[in-house]
Symmetry: C2
Subunit: 481 residues, 2 copies
């Protein structure tokens, strides 16, 4: 522990309860490495406040002592965004004890949840009141509201309900000097200058510490239907989506994958069979839901619309899950795509987006460009076609040594894919954020943008104490102890 850290902890002890300062190595160790075990850091202590005012006291005192802090929720970042630096210079600020759902107003469709509330717990609490918090993702058993807000999380229901940004009605946060930003009253209209809520959403804890959020709830699902569709190309897939969206707003998920990726999933999942009989170059999983139990069943709706698309030669074949078990089987295939691909050998994985209308062409042309540039490798993408967001994987040439691939070829592939994304007007991080993993690539590709981000960072956190090393690199503060 540095002398400044010791002084900080001494100063905090009289201000906080006994559970709020953790220095036991065994208790700290699990939180020093990210959940994919790619980034390893070291923190001499974890600070675990129980209230917003605790957080304010911690930030004001840490600023006074010049001690950096790494805010952390469920530690499920995909980009090392919540892992402390390796040199032990920062303490972890864990929000997990702040896990109260302060309020649910079912009639108004609003919930106020503290930063440490786990996503799955919010799902359950909303459902108990006949409502639904629609954002969901694989890490829902670990990811916390504070982290989801701070990373503007995405997931599988973005098509209909948007990312976290669209679901946040207000943010409560503590700024680096300990002042509190209270946006929880969730005004529908408020034009008092720059929107600080919006600035904090997706800021990855580098400007302030989110302590709670007011969140929009939607009606609970009363009816759902799941379909599997075969199409000749991503372009036909997008044409189908546009037809569906013109007729209904019931479409929640629209996930595309190439035949070979599906085949890998069928081989990977015990007992799985291809949902459609014939060969189709591309496959699409569709989920439609309705909040009204008495309205037209989404299965009828999908049946009608898919029959019309079949007649119009937009799609080649389709089946609607006849049972809940069959629907779950479809989703099991979708959810196993990443694991199934991984079993095929080492690959670079890219969470990228381009404008939705450009995605069908990107999926074909970017894959071809990669294959040509790196002979023997194989590129392909699958995922959220309707969001313009796919997971683009470049698999190593058969027989390539794993370690050599990751050490030598992967960085060049990553730069090549990123350059393609920029040329297509896209984003090198669609939903995972920048963290430490993509920080230098962002600076390489968007120097003007990063200069503006850095100026804002310096303005709000002049000493660079919040989540150091993530998102934007700052020159060390000359006044820091």
């Amino acid at each position: 522990m540095t002398p400044a850290q010791t002084r900080l902890i001494d100063a905090l002890r009289p201000l906080l309860d006994a559970k709020a300062i953790i220095t036991d190595r065994d208790a700290i160790a699990p939180w020093e490495t990210d959940w994919r075990r790619r980034f390893h850091g070291h923190a001499p202590a974890i600070l675990a406040p129980a209230t917003r005012d605790d957080v304010a006291a911690i930030l004001a005192t840490a600023t006074a002592h010049g001690v950096p802090l790494v805010p952390q929720g469920g530690n499920s970042s995909m980009v090392g965004g919540a892992t402390p630096p390796a040199d032990g210079s920062a303490l972890i600020l864990s929000l997990r004890r702040m896990n109260r759902i302060r309020h649910i107003d079912a009639a108004a469709g609003l919930a106020v949840a503290e930063a440490g509330v786990i996503l799955a717990d919010l799902h359950d609490a909303a459902l108990a009141k006949g409502r639904r918090f629609p954002l969901t993702l694989g890490a829902r058993g670990n990811a916390t509201i504070g982290g989801l807000v701070s990373t503007n999380a995405g997931g599988t229901q973005v098509l209909r309900f948007g990312t976290m940004r669209g679901l946040v009605a207000g943010v409560e946060a503590v700024l680096p000097d300990g002042t509190i930003h209270d946006g929880l009253s969730a005004l529908k209209k408020d034009n008092r200058g720059y929107d600080l809520d919006q600035l904090l959403i997706g800021a990855e804890g580098t400007l302030g510490v989110v302590t709670a959020a007011t969140l929009h709830l939607v009606p609970a699902i009363a009816q759902a239907a799941t379909a599997w569709v075969g199409v000749a190309s991503p372009a036909d897939g997008l044409a189908l989506l546009r037809r569906l969206q013109a007729a209904t707003d019931a479409i929640e998920s629209f996930e595309i994958m190439p035949a070979e990726t599906l085949a890998a999933a069928v081989a990977h999942v015990p007992g799985a069979r291809p949902p459609l009989a014939g060969h189709h170059a591309w496959h699409i999983l569709i989920e439609a839901t309705a909040a009204d139990a008495r309205g037209e069943p989404p299965s009828h709706l999908l049946e009608t619309l898919l029959a019309r698309a079949l007649e119009a030669n937009v799609i080649a074949d389709a089946v609607i899950a006849a049972s809940e078990a069959q629907a779950q089987g479809f989703w099991r295939l979708r959810d196993s795509l990443s694991d199934a691909e991984r079993a095929l050998g080492p690959a670079t994985q890219h969470d990228l987006s381009v404008p939705v209308d450009a995605m069908p062409r990107f999926m074909i042309e970017a894959a071809a460009a990669c294959d040509a540039r790196f002979p023997g490798t194989h590129a392909s993408g699958f995922g959220h076609l309707g969001d313009g967001n796919i997971h683009f994987h470049v698999r190593s040439a058969p027989g390539t040594d794993r370690d050599r691939f990751y050490a030598e070829q992967a960085p060049a592939i990553t730069r090549f894919v990123h350059d393609l994304v920029v040329a297509w007007g896209g984003s090198i991080s669609a939903e995972h954020g920048i963290g430490q993993m993509k920080r230098d690539e962002l600076a390489r590709l968007s120097p003007a943008r990063v200069a503006t981000l850095a100026a804002i960072k310096r303005a709000v956190d002049p000493a660079g104490l919040l989540n150091p090393g993530k998102l934007v690199a700052l020159a060390p503060d000359p006044k820091a102890p």
Copy 2:
């Protein structure tokens, strides 16, 4: 013209076309005063770029010469937000020549409009493609897209479609140093750090100059219905809205007014009659629309839902407009409320919001508090109940001298109303922004917030050259010429 201004214009002449530099006094004069004629400024010249690159050249050159600029669109600000300072220190940067709709993609529901496009023209262009840009307001014949984005404009359709922030998919802007922020590709998912689009929306031209925006379009209206409802209280009004919203998402407008304000409107509009026969303490105007011509008519829907609300004693009486002419008559009453009230005598007017659920109590209790504090005056509010946003007017005591009221009593009333709004967790500017009119009140009421806003302003516009004096006051830049 200051020497620096002269040098700037000399430097710009070879870079811009002949129409881009306006120094003719008669051509400048109309743009030096706001449209309500409350704020008077002076600008030695107007710069009128034709392209984004013109804007970039102007900003880079103005920064080099230290000349402040006031961005201006339709000059329809309600808070003096586009009026130059009186001392002639700034030039007007007019975006009106940039009036191209670059692109409309009806299938994707997106339009790319330049900053100078007039709102009514965008409405027409969208309709010609079978689509609709839903935001609308009284100044639609003057207000421009750049100004609407920069002020996060509201209007009468916010209940269903949100403010401008919810309708902007991407922003193109020029930052003070002339660098271009291009967010037009409108990625649905993009997590590359702080959201600069969101920072520019509602920034009132103090951080950058918006040159174009990608905007969401919605399906055109196929069917509409208008209803007039009598209720005993704002609380019953909100209960009605919650019932309607639980049953349908067709409700676009939900406007409340007290009986006395309606009576003033009936007296003010030639040939108008009260929509309902009996006396009701509060009146509500409801508009419901449907995009599907074949679905259930909104009039049937409203009939069913209002009949149920009548049975449940939530409302006292209701009528659905039987013809387009009758519907227009209802709206004419709503639209004349401000004029009708003005005819009753001098009053202070406040564009304020509180949390939606608190608004019914606020309308009663804040009015009572004002009446008690300023004997003889009369306070009441009307407007967008479903958005938690009303126009709150405090009318002078009968017989009060107009000039004396505005000079002596109005400032105290304004401060009192603002203090009430803060105590209720609300906003002193729901939709009009801060501009120069509310700048000092914002600083008085929210010093911590304004300190953060000022830090961001200094970070992005260190010389304070963009829209000086609006939103946040900055200390003069010591390096400025």
